[in-house]
C-alpha cells in the first residue's frame, strides 16, 4: 500500500498556508512533519484526512478502492471524549461507529497503561490520561493510515515511549503514519518533512501602524 502526495498546496481564507508539498510513503513508513508554529503541519494533516477542501494537488492511497478518508485515523488536538460518558462507553461507541474493530477495549487500555479506568467518566481524568484514551481510540478500530497531530502533547516521558511503541507496532503490521510533532518519537527510520521549506511563495504583507 502506497500513499503519494503531489504538489499539495492549501489555502485558508485568502492565505496560502503551504505550497508544493510532495512525498511518497509505503507500508511501514512514518513521516514526521516538523516546522515552526503556524507553518501548516496541522493543515497538512487535515488536507490528507479530507477535512479541508480548499487545496490543490493530488493525494492517492493505492492498493484499495475506498477513499483515503475512510481508511485513516485522525488524532487532532482534541481528544474526542464525552466527559459525562465512561471511558468504556466512549471507546465502545467509536469501535461500533467506525466499524472494522481491532483490539478489545480492555486490551487497548492496557496498551496505553490505563487498565482499570473503563468505568470512570472521561471528564474525571487528567489531561495526560485523556490523551492516552484518545490514543486507545486508534487501537480499537483498524485503519491503515494514522494521522496524528501532536500525539504526545500532555504526555510524560514514559507515556511518550509507550506511544512510540504503539506506533512502531502499527508500522510493523504494514501501516502508514504521518505525525506532526516537535518530538522525535524515537523511531529512527522515519522520513522527515520540514514545513518551513514549503511556505507560500507570496506571504501576505504585514499590516503597518502609521
Amino acid at each position: 500500500m502506497n500513499l503519494t502526495a503531489e504538489n499539495l498546496s492549501a489555502i485558508r481564507g485568502e492565505q496560502t498556508i503551504f505550497s508544493n508539498v510532495s512525498f511518497s510513503l509505503k507500508s511501514g513508513d512514518l513521516l514526521l512533519v516538523t516546522g515552526t508554529n503556524g507553518s501548516g503541519k496541522s493543515t497538512l494533516l487535515r488536507v490528507i484526512a479530507g477535512l479541508l477542501h480548499t487545496f490543490s494537488g493530488k493525494i492517492e492511497l493505492s492498493g484499495d478502492d475506498q477513499p483515503i478518508q475512510h481508511q485513516c485515523h485522525y488524532l487532532g488536538h482534541q481528544n474526542v471524549l464525552k466527559p459525562t460518558m465512561s471511558v468504556e462507553e466512549n471507546l465502545d461507541f467509536w469501535r461500533k461507529y467506525c466499524g472494522s474493530p481491532d483490539d478489545e477495549i480492555e486490551i487497548a487500555l492496557e496498551k496505553v497503561g490505563l487498565a482499570g479506568v473503563q468505568d470512570i467518566p472521561a471528564g474525571y481524568l487528567s489531561a495526560g490520561q485523556k490523551r492516552r484514551i484518545a490514543i486507545a481510540r486508534l487501537l480499537v478500530t483498524k485503519r491503515t493510515l494514522w494521522l496524528v497531530d501532536e500525539p504526545t502533547a500532555a504526555l510524560d516521558a514514559k507515556s511518550e515511549k509507550m506511544f512510540a511503541d504503539i506506533l512502531q507496532t502499527h508500522l510493523e503490521k504494514g501501516g502508514i503514519a504521518i505525525a506532526a510533532t516537535h518530538q522525535p518519537l524515537g523511531i529512527k527510520t522515519a522520513q522527515k518533512l520540514d514545513m518551513d521549506a514549503h511556505q507560500a511563495d507570496f506571504p501576505l504583507e504585514k499590516g503597518e501602524f502609521l
Partner: protein, 219 residues
C-alpha cells in the same frame, strides 16, 4: 448507526444534556398564560391549542444550537464525518434522537398542560397527535440551522431567527388541525395530512441540507 442513536440518547439524559429544559420552558409559557388572560375559561379553551403549539415550537428551539456544536468543540464532528456513513444519515439519526429526548417529552406533557388551559379531552388528544407529528419537522429544519451556525459561538439566537420563518407553516397547520378536531365545520384530516407531509419532506430535505453544510464546515 444504532451506536450513534443510543449515544445521543445517553448524552441527552446525562448531566448537562438538557432533557428537561424544553419541558420546563413549555411549562413556564403555559402556566403564565391563564394569569395573563384572566378568569375567562371559554377564551382560555379557545386559545389553548395556539398557546400549546407556540410553547412547543419555542421549546423545541431551545436545545437545537448544541446539536452539532458540542460535537465540533470536542473534535468528534471531524471523526463522525470521516467515516463511511453519509452525512445526511448522520444528521437524520442525530435529529431523531434529539427529538425523542427533547420533542417527545413535550408531547407527553400535553395532557397536563391542556388541563391548565381548560381544553376538552378531544382537544388534548388532537394536540398530542399534531405535536407528535409536527414537532419532528421543527427538529429537522432546526438541524439545518444548527449546521449553519455550528462554528459560531452563541449561535443559538441566530439559529432561532434563521429557522423561525420556516417553521410557521408547521405552526399554522398544527393549530388548524386541532381546531378542526374540536370545532365542527372545520376539517381535521386535510391540515393533519399536510402536517405529516411537511415532516416527511423536511426529514429528507433537512438531513440532506444539514449534512452538506456540515461537510463544508470542517474547514
Amino acid at each position: 448507526m444504532m451506536a450513534l442513536f443510543l449515544r445521543e440518547l445517553k448524552l441527552s439524559a446525562s448531566v448537562g444534556g438538557g432533557i428537561l429544559t424544553g419541558v420546563l420552558f413549555f411549562l413556564a409559557i403555559v402556566a403564565v398564560m391563564p394569569f395573563a388572560i384572566g378568569p375567562d375559561l371559554k377564551l382560555l379553551a379557545r386559545i389553548g391549542p395556539a398557546v400549546l403549539w407556540t410553547g412547543a415550537l419555542l421549546a423545541s428551539l431551545l436545545g437545537l444550537d448544541r446539536l452539532f456544536q458540542q460535537e465540533r468543540e470536542d473534535g468528534s464532528l471531524d471523526i463522525l464525518l470521516m467515516q463511511d456513513i453519509p452525512p445526511a444519515l448522520l444528521v437524520f439519526i442525530k435529529a431523531l434522537a434529539h427529538w425523542i429526548a427533547n420533542g417527545l417529552p413535550l408531547v407527553l406533557a400535553v395532557p397536563v398542560f391542556g388541563l391548565i388551559l381548560n381544553m376538552s379531552p378531544i382537544g388534548i388528544g388532537a394536540s398530542m397527535l399534531t405535536l407528535a407529528v409536527g414537532t419532528p419537522a421543527i427538529t429537522f429544519i432546526g438541524a439545518v440551522g444548527a449546521a449553519v451556525t455550528v462554528s459560531l459561538p452563541r449561535g443559538g439566537l441566530l439559529l432561532s431567527i434563521l429557522i423561525l420563518p420556516l417553521t410557521v407553516p408547521i405552526l399554522i397547520f398544527g393549530v388548524t388541525a386541532i381546531y378542526g378536531a374540536v370545532e365542527d365545520p372545520a376539517p381535521f384530516l386535510p391540515p393533519f395530512l399536510i402536517l405529516c407531509a411537511l415532516t416527511l419532506f423536511f426529514s429528507v430535505l433537512g438531513s440532506l441540507a444539514a449534512g452538506w453544510v456540515l461537510k463544508q464546515s470542517t474547514d
